[in-house]
Structures are given as C-alpha cells and as structure tokens.
C-alpha cells in the first residue's frame, strides 16, 4: 500500500539531497510481497522492506545508503530468497517501469518479435517453441509447441485467434497478476509471436476484473505498442498484422476453463462445453483458437531471443525452464518466486521461503489450487515438476503454493477448497453442481464432529464419481484436495469421524450446521 506516495516522497528527498547520479524508478513486483512497499538499490544489492509512506525512517536509511553511508536494508547477495531463483519470466520484474515501453525496449524488449517477423518463417518459430520443451503454465502442462502446431495446421478460412488466459483465480495464486502488472509488454510480445506462428491476426487478453491494475497496465501497454508499431496493422514494419483487445472477466472462476472462457469472450454465459471439438479446431466464433496462459506467453520472447537450447538446459528432462510460484501461507518469505523446474519442495519452502515461524512445524504444502493436493513432510525432497506432482496426487497447476503448519486441520483444508468449488461450480453438469455441494456438506459434518464412518465412505464414493463424471476440469479436479488429504492424512479424518476429535485443535466440535444451499 502506498508505493506511489513512497516513490514521490523518495524522489523529492533524493532531489533535495542533490544526488544527481541516482534515478528513482517505479518498477513492478520485487518478489517479497508481504514486506511491501519495497525499495531496491540494485547497484548495492540492498532491499528496503516495509518502506511505507508513514515510515520516514526507512526513507532516511535509503537516502543515507545512496549517499554512500549504508544503513539498514536487507542485503540481497547471498540471501537464498534471491540467490536460489532463476528469472526468465520475471527477468524484468522489479527492473523496468511497467508503464513505460521505452524501459521495455531498452531492456531488449520486442527484439524477439522484430526478429521473428523479419527473418523467421512461422514454421521455424513453432519449431523453436517445440524444441524448447515449453509446457503450458496454466496448469495441465500440455506441450505448448504441439498446441501451436495444431492451430497452425488448421485451415481457418475465417481467421484464427490467439487468446491469453489471464483469469487467474486459484486461492493463494497471484503470479500471473504479478507478471501482468510488472511486464505487460512481455506478455503482449509473446502473444504477437504466437499470432505470427499460428497465422492469427487477432488476439484477446481475458483478464479478470478483480485485477484492475493489471488490466489498466495491459491496456496502456497495448496502446503504446500500437503507437510504436509492435502491434496493429504493420507489426515492426512488415505485412503481418496483429490486433489485441482486452476482455474483462465477471468474477467466475470457471471462465479460466478454455471453453467457458471462449463463451465469455463471445458475450455468452461462461459455461464449459464438452471437448472435442478443442478450441484449437473450433474456438472463438468457431475459428481455430490458440489459448495459452499469461506465464506461457511471457516465456516465449526469451526462448526466441536466447534460443530453444538455452531454455531446455534449464529444468528437468520432461519439465523444461522455470516456474513462477506464489509462495504463501506459513512461511517467512511470502511472495512471487521463479525457480528452475526440478528444485525440491524443501528448497522452495525452507531456503527460498525461509522456513516457518519459530515454534511451528511444517505439515503440508498445497499446490495446484482447488484441483491440486496437499503434500506432506515425507515428500519434501520431491522435485517440483509436472510428473512428480501429478504422481504424488497433486498437480503443478498455475503455481499457487500454500505452506501449512501444524495448527492446520487437513479436513478443514479439504472443506475450504470444496467450499470454493461448490461456489464456483457453474451448475451446468449434475455431478459437479450437486456433488461438490454434497461433499462440502459431508466435510462440514466432519469438522463439526457430527460425522460417522459411513459419511467418510460416502465422501470417498461421491468424490470418485464426481472426478469421473464431471464435464470440465473444475468438477473433475474438485475431489483432488479430498483424495490427497485422505491419502496422506487419513488419520485426521478417522479422528474426526471415530472420536470426534480434531488433532490440530482447529475444528469446533459441536458447532451448529451451516445452513444454506446455493452461493454462500
């Protein structure tokens, strides 16, 4: 809060002190979200935390440090929060002014797009993405190059579309927001390259209305890029044209599902449709449509600039590159981080996250959002990649990572995610509409100490049916938090249903039933 005021105050103070060689800049996310507002002095590798407008002491420290008398601040060199990260997507986050295209251009921005339209064939671009091994960062990890090639091969006599899915909605996930607010041009550049590769001349960014700053900066970035000729009629002076428009979501989580997203962009009720046909063949207004997530697009310009080989040298055998996570929950350093694929959960939670608060014990880490799962202490040394997470009963998801300590009740965690799913279910198909509600009621009964062994059996049976029978990913994934907590924390469920005891002493046994059908 108050970063703009901090910027203004600091600029005035720096000017008053006569520090001519210091430039004060507004930049995007510096990573340590919980400690904001943040001021970084890159040359001295020092970060000042909590420098809010009321904290004049922090500003004095900064000015003093700038004058050559280091005072306060957090040294960034050697701090594992910074040194363990590898920045590809977030390379410019916290370095460039998100509202300035000049800043972006100065840092090498739009060079990849200019190179692509001037000297590469669409097929070469797609091949480069295929070779890089990039996989969809929205959750499922579908090979991006394969998706591009599929759309490229569709005929599309009435045109094709590129859509950026910026409807980030998982509880505890805020990475895409950070990318859009920090380097909106990088996302647009990725989209334009994709448009060139698949033969699309129109693009949409579907951004949720809950992210007004991201939408504002994207809109500004689109205008700037059009003025400079990187978007619009003649991209970088060539015959390739690419127009981008913003579309705002209206608060429905399910609109992150691609067929629902398409319906929403078209102005219809945002409900999913059975696939096939896939959007690659029949998407927006029936035309071939490429849908990728914000982070996926932001990975494209670095891949083109530095080459597929460089990109595929990062990460594991089947999961290439880096992944941006929003690290939240019971860790010291909460914020947006980017790590190479294959880093272990332990390294993320304890090295980068700085571990838990004193006296608290690690219990689980939740990844993958409402369709993901909770991973216990035994799995801390598991590498974080698509296959390992799925095998362990969770998923990569879009990149939310919530750390839980021993005061957390896992039945309550499952109930929280089920409550989310039942409220976000669109209501189209029966298993998801009724099943998520019934599972939530069974879990609610458990956390009130009113459940029996029979209810637990019922929960497992409904969860299996909802997973197999639901129409879209929301319903198919909704039982996952139940399955993963049952897999690793069954004892806690048994304590709730057999002894009516909550081992974490979180649940209020004997609490009255929460009334209510329908959206709470």
């Amino acid at each position: 809060m108050g970063s703009r005021q901090v910027y203004e105050a600091l600029e005035a103070e720096v000017a008053a002190t006569g520090l001519d060689d210091v430039a004060v800049r507004r930049v995007g996310c510096l990573g340590l979200c919980a400690s904001g507002p943040l001021v970084a002095v890159p040359e001295l590798e020092t970060l000042f935390e909590g420098a809010g407008p009321g904290n004049s002491g922090a500003r004095e420290d900064i000015v003093s440090t700038l004058k050559g008398e280091p005072r306060g601040g957090r040294p960034m060199a050697g701090d594992p929060f910074f040194s363990r990260q590898v920045k590809v997507v977030l390379e410019r986050c916290g370095r460039v002014d998100p509202e300035s295209i000049d800043d972006y251009l100065e840092s090498g921005g739009y060079e990849a797009l200019a190179k692509v339209v001037a000297s590469m064939s669409p097929d070469e671009v797609t091949s480069e993405v295929v070779k890089s091994g990039l996989r969809g960062r929205g959750g499922a990890g579908y090979p991006t190059g394969l998706k591009w090639r599929t759309v490229a091969k569709e005929a599309g006599p009435a045109g094709k579309f590129v859509v950026c899915n910026a409807d980030e909605g998982d509880p505890g996930a805020f990475m895409d927001r950070s990318v859009m607010e920090s380097t909106p041009h990088q996302v647009l550049e990725g989209m334009a390259i994709a448009g060139y590769a698949v033969g699309a001349n129109r693009g949409y960014v579907y951004v949720r209305a809950e992210y007004p700053l991201a939408a504002e900066r994207l809109a500004l970035a689109i205008r700037q890029a059009e003025q400079r000729g990187y978007l619009g009629a003649r991209v970088a002076g060539t015959r390739f044209s690419f127009h981008v428009e913003l579309r705002m979501g209206a608060g429905a989580y399910v609109c992150g599902e691609e067929t629902a997203l398409i319906a929403s962009v078209q102005g219809e009720r945002g409900t999913p449709k059975p696939r096939p046909p896939y959007p690659a063949a029949s998407g927006l207004w029936g035309c071939p449509t490429l849908i990728n997530n914000v982070e996926t697009f932001a990975n494209v310009p670095p891949i083109i600039s530095r080459g597929a080989e460089w990109f595929s040298s990062i990460g594991t055998e089947r999961s290439k590159g880096t992944k941006v996570f929003s690290l939240a929950g019971a860790v010291k350093n909460t914020g947006v981080i980017e790590v190479p694929m294959g880093l272990t959960l332990r390294e993320i939670v304890f090295d980068i996250g700085g571990g838990l608060a004193p006296g608290r014990r690690f219990k689980a880490v939740q990844t993958g959002g409402p369709a993901g799962g909770c991973l216990p202490e035994e799995l801390l040394d598991m590498p974080v990649d698509y296959e390992s997470l799925t095998q362990a009963g969770s998923m990569m998801g879009s990149g939310g990572m919530i750390v839980m300590d021993d005061s957390t009740c896992m039945v309550d965690v499952a109930k929280f995610f089920m409550d989310f799913c039942r409220q976000e279910s669109c209501g189209k198909c029966v298993p998801c509409r009724v099943g998520t509600h019934e599972m939530w009621r069974l879990l609610d009964r458990m956390t009130r100490g009113a459940a029996s062994r029979r209810d637990l059996e019922q929960l497992e049976s409904v969860a299996g049916m909802v997973r197999a029978m639901s129409l879209c990913g929301l319903g198919q994934g909704a039982p996952n938090p139940v399955f993963s907590t049952l897999r690793y924390f069954r004892d806690e469920y048994l304590a709730h249903v057999d002894e009516h005891v909550c081992p974490a002493e979180h649940c209020q046994m004997g609490a009255p039933e929460r009334a209510g059908v329908g959206p709470a």
Partner: protein, 236 residues
C-alpha cells in the same frame, strides 16, 4: 462431407456417419443409453452426464450425446461402474430439489422418475438438500415450479432454437443456478414469451406444467417430439 465410420458398440459391429454421435448410432441400432438432457431435435449440451460411456483407449468417460463416432471405436454403454455412476447422478438430482413423486403433477409421466426406476434407485444415501424454492404461477396458462427443475435446459433450448423467442435462460451458478425468464422477471410479465407451450411439452419433470392439471394426470407429450424434429429438419 461426412464419411462412413465402422465401430463397435457393446461388441456389436455398427456403422455411422462421421458427423453422428455415439448416441444416435446406438439408438439406430436399438442399443439403449439412458439420457435426460438430450432431446431429439434440440442441440446437445452434455450436461446431465447420464449417457456417459466407456470408449476403449480414452482416459475419461465420454458423453454419448456429444461424442462423434470414429473408425474402430470400441464403446461400452453398460458396466457395473457406469450403472452405479448413473444411479448416483439420478440420486443427486432427487436430493438436490424437492421431488416427491406422490404429489407431483408429472407422477408416472416423469423422465426422472423413469430413470430412477430403470437404474434401480430405491433409496437415497446422500443428505437431502431440498431448498424451498419459489413457484412462478404468474403466466396465465403455465406454471414454473423450480422445486421440480433439474436444470436440463431443454426449455431454454427449445425456446431459443425452435420457437426462437429465447425467453428462458439460466441465472446464478452452482446449486444456486435457476431457470429464469426474461432476465429474471416473472414469466407472466415476459415480453418475449409467445405462450407457445413448447417448453412445457419438453420438460422431463413436473417443473413446467399447464395450469388445471391434477396430480398424475397423463400429459400428451410424446406426439410433440416428432413435430419438433420435423420443424428443425425443415429449417436445415
């Protein structure tokens, strides 16, 4: 440009066109697949999930009403797992709203009731939700009882696709989803409803009914269906 595809449904060799669904090819060959939201002559939405089938090699169950046939496909329409899942779908619909057959205008004339009977649903294991929902009796000839509605959206589709009035649509989400007329105003004050009654005829339950009908009174519903199909066919 449809081509002929040969496939197997329940071990039986059958042939279909590439633009046909598993459901239509199965029906043509007198293989029964239960359906609820599907209605011949209307577009398919794959929402009720009753018609899901197993397709060899497919990792997920697929709805027969929207999945096109493919060469060499091996489809299983009935298995222990499928029957138990389908029974659960019908159970979910019963517990979701108030479906007390004995006092329902559609008793013995109800597709939900028929599915429950066919699938052997004789008791409910899930807790009842049974919210008290409003009944819209503002229309001079028809009534919309939300307590009996299963959100199959047949009424929405017939009104949009055949009558082309688009009086009905869905509002809200999850368990709070409701069929609404004209952006949520009472049906009787609708400026788009033509009072054609098609929605009443296609409703599988007692949610939409004609005023003056008593409990269990049989409805002349069936003759309307071929009519609707013919209308659709002529438009194509």
């Amino acid at each position: 440009m449809s081509e002929v595809r040969t496939l197997q449904i329940d071990g039986k060799d059958v042939a279909g066109r590439s633009d046909e669904t598993i459901l239509s090819v199965a029906q043509e060959n007198e293989i029964h697949i239960p359906t609820l939201c599907h209605l011949e002559g209307l577009s398919d939405v794959g929402a009720c999930r009753l018609c899901v089938v197993e397709v060899e090699g497919a990792p997920k169950l697929l709805p027969a009403c929207t999945t096109r046939v493919d060469e060499g496909m091996k489809v299983t329409t009935t298995s222990e797992r499928l029957v138990s899942y389908r029974r659960r779908v019908v159970e979910m619909l019963f517990v979701e709203r108030n479906h007390i057959c004995a006092v329902c205008v559609a008793n013995n004339n109800c597709e939900l009731q028929a599915q429950a009977r066919d699938l052997g649903l004789d008791h409910f294991e899930l807790p009842l939700m049974h919210p008290a929902l409003p009944v819209d009796a503002s229309h001079e000839r028809f009534v919309m009882d939300h307590n009996r509605c299963i959100l199959c959206t047949r009424c929405v589709r017939v009104c949009d696709e055949v009558e082309q009035a688009h009086t009905w649509d869905v509002a809200g989400r999850g368990a709070g989803a409701r069929i609404v007329s004209d952006l949520g105003t009472p049906w009787g004050s609708s400026s788009t409803c033509t009072s054609c009654g098609k929605c009443v005829q296609v409703c599988p339950t007692g949610a939409l009914f004609e005023k003056g009908r008593s409990i269990s009174e049989p409805k002349a519903r069936r003759p309307y269906l071929p009519y609707l199909v013919r209308v659709k066919g002529r438009e194509r």
